[in-house]
Amino acid sequence: MTQAPDVTRLLDVRDLRVEFRTRDGVAEAVGGVSYGVDAGRTLAVLGESGSGKSVTAQAVMGILDSPPAFVTGGQVLFRGRDLLTMSPRERRSVRGAAMAMIFQDALSALNPVLTVGAQLAEMYEVHRGMSRKDARARAVELMDRVRIPAAKARVNDYPHQFSGGMRQRIMIAMAIALEPELIIADEPTTALDVTVQAQVMDLLDELRREYAMGLILITHDLGVVADVADEIAVMYAGRIVETAPVRELYRRPAHPYTRGLLDSIPRVDHKGKELYAIKGLPPSLLTVPTGCPFHPRCPRAQDICRTERPPLYEVPDATDTVAPGRASACHFWKDELDA
C-alpha cells in the first residue's frame, strides 16, 4: 500500500507553533509540531501533562484561550485547506461539523444548567437549521446510538444526573452528531473507572470504523494506545520526540523518553519489585533546557545533548528500509534501537 500524498491527508499539521504570553514571560508551549492522520485511522498523541499535546489539539480545533495563547506559525491543513488562514466564520462552520472534540471531564465540559437533550439538539439547530422538535428527536437517536439506556426518558435529564461513563457517552454523541470527518479525543477515558474506560474506548473505536473518521487520541495511558492506535506521536516539552506505527514503537522505541514511558508501565511479572519511574520532572516551558530538552533526565545524555538540539531523524524499520512516519529526535537513536 502506498502512502497517499500529503495534500489529500485528512489532517496535516505542519510546524505548528503556539506560545503563551504570560506575566512571567513567553512560554513556547508548542514548538514546531508536525503530525497528520488519514481518514479511518487513529493517531495517538502521547505525553506527560505540560508536554503540549492538548494545546496542539486546541490549536487545531481553534479553541485556544487567546490571550494568553497565540498561534505563531505553521499550518493546519484539513483536506488540504489551511484552517489558520480561514475567516473566523468559515472556521466556525468546520468546527463541530467537520471536526469535533471530546474532552476529558464530561461533567465540567457539559453545561450544568441545560438538559443533555438541549445540548445535543443544539448541534442540529445551529449547523443544520432544524426545528427544535426535529432536533430533539435526533438527540434521542444519538443517545440510542451511543447505547444510553432509556434514551427517550433521559433526554430531558441534566448532566449531573448521569454516571461518569454515561456522561462521556453523551460527549461522544455530541461529537458524532454531525458525522464529522475527524474527532479529537483529549484523554477521553482518564476520568473514568477502569471497567468503564474499556467500554467507552470500544464505543469510540467502533464509531470511528463505522463512519470512517480520523481519530486523534490524546492520552498518557500506554495501555489504551496499544489496542486502538495505528500511529503514535510522543511529545515532550512542546515537541514531537518520536513518531512510529504502534507496533514498531512498542517493539523498538528509538528515543530514551519513549523507552522510559514503556518501562514505567506496571507489569504483573514485575510484581513485588519497585515501579520504574523516569527520574526528574518535565521542564517548565519558561525555562526549557538547552540542546535536547530531555537531557537532564536522560540516562544516555552526552555533551552534544546539552548543546545541540536533535532534529527528527528518519528511522528505518526492522528490515532496515526507510519507514514512512518513523522518526526520532535523539542523537543516539541508533544506540537506543540496538539497546
Binding site: 463541530g96 471531564d105 453545561n111 450544568p112 444548567v113 448541534m123 445551529v126
Partner: protein, 307 residues
C-alpha cells in the same frame, strides 16, 4: 420541594419571634411611651396611670409582647399617637415604597447586568477599567450625598424631574428617587455580574460550546449568561428585601411618604406602635424574600434540589 418549603416556613417562626421581640424590647428600652405621648408637657399622674393600665404598660415586658402579638395576628397593629390606626399608615406607605423599589430594582437589574456582562467579556480593556472605576466611586459616595446632588442637578438646575414627590407618588415622579436608591446596589450588581462572567468564561463548558462551532452570541446568551446570573439573581432577591425597608435616606431627601419616612417619623417621636408594627411587617417581607431566593436558586441551577 413541598416538604422543603414547609420546613423553611416552620423555621421562620423562631426567627420571627426572636427578631420582633428584640425590636419590641429595644423600643421599650427607649423610654416611657406615655411621657412621649404628652410631648413636652408633664402628664397628670392619674391620667398617666390610667393610660398605662389601658395599654397594658403596667404588666411585665413578656406579657406586653404576648398581648401585642395576639393583636397583630388579628390584624390590629394599634394606633399611632395622633389616633390614626397603624394599619392605615401601612396601607398608605407600603404601596409607595413598593413602587420605589420596583423602579430601583428594574434600574439596577437592566443596567447592572448589561454593564457587568459587557465589562466581563472585555476584561482588562478600556470599558472594563472605566466600569470598575465608576462603580468604585458610586459605592464610595453615600446616598445622602448622591441623592441631594442629583436632586439639585436633575430636579432643580436642569428641571428634568420633580425635585420632590407628591403624596400620591406616581411612577413618573419616582424615577429619580428610584435611581438614587438603586445606585449603590447597581454598582454591586455590575461588579458581581462581571466577576461571575469572567469566572464562567473560562469554564470547560464554554470551551465545549466554542468547540461545537456555535456563534458567539449564542455561546454568551445561552451558555455563559445562564450560569453567570445565578449569584446575581440571589443578590437581587435579597436586595429587594433590603430596599423595601432601607429607603429611609432616599425617602427623606425626596419627601416620599413611604415606609422609610414613616419609620423615621416614628423613631423621632418615640411612636412605638408605628415602629414595632412596621418592623414586624419588614421582618416578614425579608424572610419571604429570602425563601423566594432559595427557591429561585433551585429553578436556575438544576443541580440544587431541596428535599
Amino acid at each position: 420541594m413541598g416538604r422543603y418549603v414547609l420546613r423553611r416556613l416552620l423555621q421562620m417562626i423562631p426567627v420571627f419571634i426572636g427578631s420582633t421581640f428584640l425590636i419590641f424590647f429595644m423600643v421599650y428600652a427607649l423610654g416611657d411611651p406615655v411621657a412621649a405621648l404628652f410631648g413636652d408637657k408633664a402628664p397628670d399622674p392619674a391620667t398617666a396611670a390610667r393610660i398605662r393600665k389601658d395599654l397594658y404598660l403596667d404588666e411585665p415586658l413578656w406579657s406586653q409582647y404576648v398581648h401585642y402579638m395576639g393583636q397583630v395576628f388579628s390584624g390590629d397593629f394599634g394606633t399611632a399617637f395622633n389616633g390614626q390606626p397603624v394599619t392605615e399608615l401601612m396601607t398608605g406607605a407600603f404601596p409607595v415604597t413598593l413602587r420605589l423599589t420596583v423602579v430601583a430594582v428594574v434600574f439596577e437589574m437592566a443596567l447592572g447586568v448589561t454593564l457587568g456582562v459587557l465589562s466581563g467579556l472585555r476584561r482588562g480593556r478600556g470599558l472594563d477599567t472605566s466600569v470598575l472605576l465608576l462603580t468604585l466611586v458610586v459605592v464610595a459616595i453615600p446616598t445622602f450625598v448622591s441623592g441631594t446632588v442629583l436632586q439639585f442637578l436633575v430636579g432643580v438646575r436642569w428641571g428634568l424631574a420633580p425635585p420632590s414627590v407628591s403624596p400620591e407618588a406616581p411612577f413618573t415622579q419616582l424615577l429619580l428617587p428610584g435611581v438614587v436608591l438603586g445606585l449603590v446596589s447597581l454598582a454591586y450588581t455590575t461588579r458581581l455580574t462581571r466577576t461571575s462572567v469572567v469566572e464562567n468564561a473560562r469554564a470547560d463548558y464554554v470551551r465545549t460550546a466554542v468547540a461545537k462551532g456555535l456563534p458567539r452570541h449564542r455561546i454568551v446568551t445561552r451558555h455563559l449568561l445562564r450560569n453567570s446570573l445565578i449569584p446575581v439573581v440571589t443578590f437581587l432577591g435579597i436586595d429587594i428585601g433590603a430596599l423595601m425597608g432601607g429607603a429611609i435616606v432616599t425617602e427623606r431627601i425626596f419627601n416620599i411618604h413611604g415606609v422609610g419616612y414613616q419609620l423615621y417619623q416614628g423613631i423621632l417621636r418615640q411612636n412605638s406602635p408605628t415602629v414595632v408594627g412596621f418592623v414586624t411587617i419588614l421582618v416578614i417581607v425579608f424572610l419571604l424574600a429570602n425563601l423566594l431566593v432559595d427557591l429561585l436558586y433551585a429553578v436556575l441551577d438544576p443541580r440544587i434540589r431541596y428535599a
